[in-house]
């Protein structure tokens, strides 16, 4: 018979040619070394393709997907929250322009007395961040802004640019941010220095992952609408924690969020200003 061409042999191998036509090809192969060799080569194509290792996903693509996924998660959370809020309460009033203090301290952290207990029990608790005199009715209503004087600490933003050319991931928001994975070991003594060093790492050199819902809630509360410059998993005095750097436009502040920090429990272990001349406790 005529040698079957490659297409026919390939279809025969795939089981697409059966019956009398298939029997003829089988018989031909039994007596034709050339077609048998061609048939072997066709089988080899599949073997060869199967042997090619899968290409590794480039880090840049992985980071991009992580960011896109974080955005989707945040979008879904926001949609759900909007639905809940719409049913339960009126929209929050817009904050006036001008000076933008840390609403965290005035509205979300100070108001619940329970949070004070939790933070105080944490060692570097609320008392280190802001003085008790700030927990007033006005602050609970969101109209007061904590000051460095009253807290005796550097948490409140201080005017003036931070030193150094920091590397900020562009476009991240408190509800849509990649979590930089790392094992920096921080302490109260080196917090400002390490935070500045973390900011100097270019985004392309960072390894990130999608943050947990708990951490997103925590960071959203801590940043409270301010610019988010960095969120990085670290160890603080040996304990797992998260470094959060926020900017108000008047200065940058590094916060160490405890492992149990969440939207309803903004547990902060330590904080320091990254603004010139103020380096934390």
């Amino acid at each position: 018979m005529t040698h079957p061409d490659t297409d026919v042999l390939a279809e025969f191998r795939a089981g697409l040619i059966t019956g009398r036509r298939g029997a003829r090809i089988t018989a031909h192969l039994a007596g034709c070394d050339r077609c048998t060799a061609l048939d072997d080569q066709l089988a080899g194509v599949s073997v060869l393709l199967a042997s090619v290792p899968a290409p590794a996903m480039p880090d840049s693509v992985a980071r991009r997907l992580d960011t896109a996924l974080a955005a989707e998660v945040a979008s879904r959370d926001n949609a759900e929250r909007a639905g809940d809020d719409g049913a339960a309460e009126s929209p929050a009033p817009r904050r006036p322009g001008g000076h933008r203090g840390f609403r965290l301290l005035t509205l979300r952290v100070l108001a619940p007395a329970a949070a004070v207990v939790v933070l105080a029990a944490g060692g570097y608790g609320l008392s280190r961040i802001v003085g008790p005199g700030q927990m007033t009715a006005s602050s609970a209503a969101g109209s007061a802004t904590p000051s460095a004087e009253s807290s005796g600490h550097a948490y409140a933003p201080v005017a003036g640019p931070a030193k150094g050319a920091v590397s900020r991931p562009l476009g991240i928001t408190p509800t849509n941010f990649p979590l930089v994975t790392g094992q920096r070991n921080l302490s109260p003594a080196n917090l400002a220095q390490q935070a500045r060093a973390a900011l100097l790492v270019p985004p392309s050199a960072r390894t990130t992952k999608t943050p947990s819902a708990q951490l997103r809630g925590c960071v959203g509360t801590l940043a409270s609408g301010h610019q988010l410059d960095l969120v990085e998993s670290v160890r603080f005095e040996g304990r797992p924690a998260t470094l959060v750097v926020v900017s108000t436009g008047e200065g940058e502040t590094a916060l160490i969020a405890a492992q149990d920090c969440s939207a309803t429990n903004p547990h902060v272990l330590d904080t320091t200003s990254l603004t010139s001349g103020i380096s934390g406790p």
Partner: protein, 201 residues
């Protein structure tokens, strides 16, 4: 089977639909290297593949509630990625299979190849050869021969019949053979044959 602490894909998808913010990320990370491979090999372009994979991931995230468990979760994910990849090819019509004239460029690329026994060189050749195929044939071959899906699962992924999958794969293998035979090594009993030749015995 997944053991304790390693939830099944379907369980992760269920948690995602129920509102678990981390479940989908874990699920996608579990499969994303293979999903990247299918997108990259179908599109033959890293930028396009990244776009397609992101489109697919977002689509899967949003449409997870539509998953009915009629196939494995990984099959469902691959289907979405393949669809996103083929949609991208259709929309842009930017990189169809190379024309006959382009095969000269392909041959030149093969000629530049070094030691074909080296994995990286083999992969380069295979990738170049894949570009010779029409997208549907390429997708079928990638899913079946390169990712190892059964014809039945490939039919689900490619949204076609098993017979069509077999046919596309067969035609793709026949088309690739002249370009890949030199990479198959010296297997005993085989001899190099010009695949295109036919004739009387």
């Amino acid at each position: 089977m997944p053991d304790e602490g390693w939830p099944a894909d379907q369980e992760l998808l269920r948690r995602h639909v129920a509102g678990d913010a981390e479940a989908f990320g874990e699920l996608f990370r579990r499969h994303r290297d293979r999903l990247w491979a299918v997108a990259l090999r179908t599109l033959c372009d890293p930028e396009e593949a990244a776009d397609a994979l992101q489109d697919a991931m977002v689509s899967a995230f949003r449409r997870a509630g539509d998953f009915r468990g009629e196939s494995a979760v990984t099959t469902w994910l691959h289907r979405i990625v393949v669809n996103a990849s083929l949609d991208r090819l259709r929309r842009r019509a930017a990189r169809p299979a190379l024309s006959a004239g382009d095969e000269q460029a392909f041959e030149a690329l093969v000629a530049q190849d070094g030691d074909p026994a080296r994995t990286s060189d083999t992969r380069l050749d295979v990738n170049a050869a894949l570009r010779l195929l029409p997208p549907q044939q390429r997708a079928a071959l990638v899913v079946v021969d390169m990712l190892g899906f059964s014809v039945a699962d490939a039919a689900v992924i490619l949204d076609t019949s098993p017979g069509t999958v077999k046919s596309r794969c067969a035609r793709a293998r026949a088309r690739l053979l002249p370009h890949l035979a030199h990479l198959q090594g010296n297997r005993s009993g085989s001899q190099s044959v010009s695949p295109a030749q036919g004739g009387d015995t």
